[in-house]
């Protein structure tokens, strides 16, 4: 087993708010191998964005990390304990250096009064010892690589002169110019039209192959995940409920939430099928259910409902790496899954 590029263990994160201590991420563990695309799927309140930001220590000041949480970055044989990096100089290695992030709303990520080119050059010069000319050349090259026509001209333009899809590409160009090992993409295609989304997804897949880069792809769109990810992790209300390869999770979902999510999607190949929503509403983070966080909405608990209400499920590790946190897939049941 190759050393994972980034390893998250028992990450628990709470926020201090007026209403009390709110748990955003609860005991989340996952690994990302070099060159792998991990899809992090969840709806609002699932904690996926918070988890991603934790990898770069970008969460707000009122975030409280639990003692046992550990995020380890392995680059070039060296281990970095991300959560213990306090000095900005050390953090700089991670932010923008080894790890880059792109966001949902590209308009919000570019400063409106500075040209795109200027921002890309700035990013490069912070993270390396290049001269301005070198940085400019590399930036224009990146803009070409992401498919922006007339890159030299576009280099000198402002964010508002780009369309949504192009801004997202420029954002990807900027994020990739420092050749990061891990790209965190937080809902990068959600705000895009579907035809543009298809283009951007293709681009990202090409870049992964070319740069041998890993991507943590965060989204709520299972279709996009199915098309881009190698492995999938499903989050619900701060907990990681299921992890596995994309075929395992999508074709043979083991957790009732994943099953419910897949069932509620309108599918083009079966227009007659009724849409079955997951019953109930996502609870407020102030109101975390006891035991298994999903139990109030679970339709499959049946006989063991009492257990689901009182006991937190233990993670079941399948032989093929398919993990799930559910009482239905009990320790007794470990032989179940095949890829």
């Amino acid at each position: 087993m190759t050393t994972p590029l980034i390893s998250v263990k028992d990450l628990t994160l709470r926020f201090k708010t007026d209403e009390g201590l709110v748990t955003a991420v609860n005991n989340v563990s996952f690994d990302i191998a070099p060159g792998e695309v991990l899809g992090l799927v969840g709806e609002s309140g699932s904690g996926k964005s918070v988890t991603a930001k934790a990898l770069m220590m970008l969460n707000a000041d009122n975030a409280v990390y639990d003692e046992g949480s550990k995020i380890t970055l392995n680059i070039d044989g060296k281990e970095h304990d991300v959560l213990s990096l306090k000095r900005p100089a050390e953090q700089m290695v991670i932010r923008g250096g080894a790890i880059s992030m792109i966001f949902q709303e590209p308009m919000a990520s570019f400063a409106p009064a500075i040209t795109i080119g200027e921002q890309m050059v700035e990013q490069l010069m912070i993270h390396s010892t290049m001269t301005r000319t070198e940085a400019r050349d590399i930036s224009v090259e990146m803009l070409t690589r992401v498919g922006i026509p007339e890159p030299a001209e576009r280099f000198g333009q402002y964010a508002f002169e780009f369309s949504g899809g192009m801004r997202q590409r420029a954002m990807i160009a900027m994020a990739l110019s420092t050749k990061p090992r891990l790209l965190i993409a937080d809902e990068p295609t959600t705000a895009l039209d579907v035809t543009i989304q298809a283009q951007v997804i293709d681009l990202m897949k090409d870049l992964v192959a070319e740069y041998h880069m890993s991507i943590l792809f965060i989204t709520h769109d299972l279709g996009v995940i199915a098309q881009t990810a190698d492995r999938v992790a499903v989050m619900y209300l701060g907990n990681l409920v299921e992890t596995g390869t994309v075929r395992q999770v999508i074709n043979k979902p083991s957790h009732p939430y994943t099953r419910g999510l897949l069932n509620s999607l309108p599918k083009l190949d079966d227009l007659e099928a009724p849409l079955t929503p997951v019953p109930g509403d996502i609870p407020s983070p102030l109101d975390r259910p006891s035991g298994c966080v999903f139990h109030p909405r679970c339709v499959e608990s049946g006989d063991i409902a009492e257990r689901c209400r009182t006991e937190i499920p233990v993670t079941t590790f399948g032989a093929d790496g398919h993990q799930v946190d559910c009482h239905l897939t009990n320790p007794r049941d470990q032989a179940g899954d095949q890829a």
Partner: protein, 330 residues
């Protein structure tokens, strides 16, 4: 031939922009030459990407956007309204019969009013009830239909999640007993698991009350599951319109085909489809000449760049605006 509730004939909606320098005033051609007929009691889907003009079309049909050319005619039993010239008392009547459900559940509800007041507002404004008790009864009835209980009525919107707020929006739209509802991207801002819930609610309302829905969305799979009839819009024009099943099985327009193939499939083994569109969506201020889709169409020919394709009926109920549909389908 069942009743047509509302139809648009050659409808155009243009928004003039402020003049830049000297010369002609730029105009956003949000909708151009729209011809559609919505049957009474049907669930009519309108799909398109940004700049397609679908929101504008929806608003024009509610007289919430100005009609620059053409007409929109609403016919229901013995009343007929020409939206272009509607005003005064007749406009008020029309407002009772037609409602809008907004996209953003967070912006559509006044944060300072209780849920009960929000739902009751149309009743009070339109004078549909004569006493507070009557209003309360009606509000409770509608709220129950949308799975909002008495406790919820006393609360303010900040207490609710996106899905719940959307249900409040729906309740507000229903309370005046409308005949025609435009749902503008009503599920776009919702989580997937809640989306199905709201869609089911809309469907059950439609079945029970026979309300005609114009459902606007950018998500073709959502439309496919809920609508009887679909119209596809691109850059202000309708490029194809057909009953849902036909649209998917006998796709006639290259744009529709591209839209369908762009939807990421849930099957990880189906990757790398054909028909990926190149280029960006042009601006509605300066649409391309001829067929507006020609800049991105993989099958574009010279004729497409100069001649505007005619809106024609290919088979019963299936209209398309493309020069080469037969060749492409064959």
């Amino acid at each position: 031939m069942s009743d047509i509730l509302i139809r648009a004939n050659n409808l155009s909606v243009h928004f003039p922009l402020s003049r830049v320098g000297f010369g002609e005033r730029p105009v956003v051609r949000a909708c151009e030459g729209i011809n559609i007929e919505i049957e009474k009691g049907s669930f009519f889907g309108l799909v398109g990407e940004s700049g397609s003009g679908k929101t504008t079309l929806g608003r024009a049909m509610l007289k919430a956007a100005p009609i620059s050319h053409g007409e929109v005619i609403y016919t229901d039993g013995d009343v007929t309204y020409d939206l272009g010239s509607l005003k005064g008392q007749e406009l008020k009547e029309y407002r009772k019969r037609s409602q809008l459900i907004f996209q953003d559940p967070y912006a559509a509800l006044s944060p300072r009013m209780t849920v009960r007041d929000i739902i009751a507002e149309p009743l009070e404004v339109m004078g549909l009830t004569s006493s507070r008790e009557e209003t309360d009864t009606k509000v409770r009835e509608i709220a129950a239909k949308c799975r909002l209980n008495l406790e919820h009525l006393r609360r303010f919107p900040h207490a609710f999640s996106g899905g719940q707020r959307q249900r409040i929006s729906i309740a507000r739209a229903l309370v005046s007993d409308p005949k025609f509802i435009v749902a503008d991207e009503s599920v776009a801002a919702l989580d997937v698991s809640i989306q199905a819930d709201v869609l089911n609610l809309l469907n059950s309302i439609q079945r029970e009350r026979g309300i005609t829905f114009l459902f606007i969305s950018h998500d073709l799979s959502v439309i496919a599951h809920t609508c009887d009839f679909v119209a596809v819009m691109y850059l202000g024009q309708i490029v194809e319109a057909a009953p849902t099943r036909k649209l998917f099985s006998e796709t006639a327009h290259p744009y529709t085909r591209a839209l369908l193939s762009a939807i990421p499939s849930l099957d990880p083994d189906v990757r790398g489809n054909a028909q990926k569109l190149e280029g960006e969506i042009p601006s509605p201020i300066n649409p391309p000449p001829g067929c507006r889709f020609n800049t991105r169409c993989p099958h574009a020919q010279d004729r497409c760049r100069s001649e505007v394709p005619e809106w024609r009926e290919m088979t019963s109920g299936h209209h398309v605006a493309c020069h080469f549909s037969e060749e492409l389908m064959g």
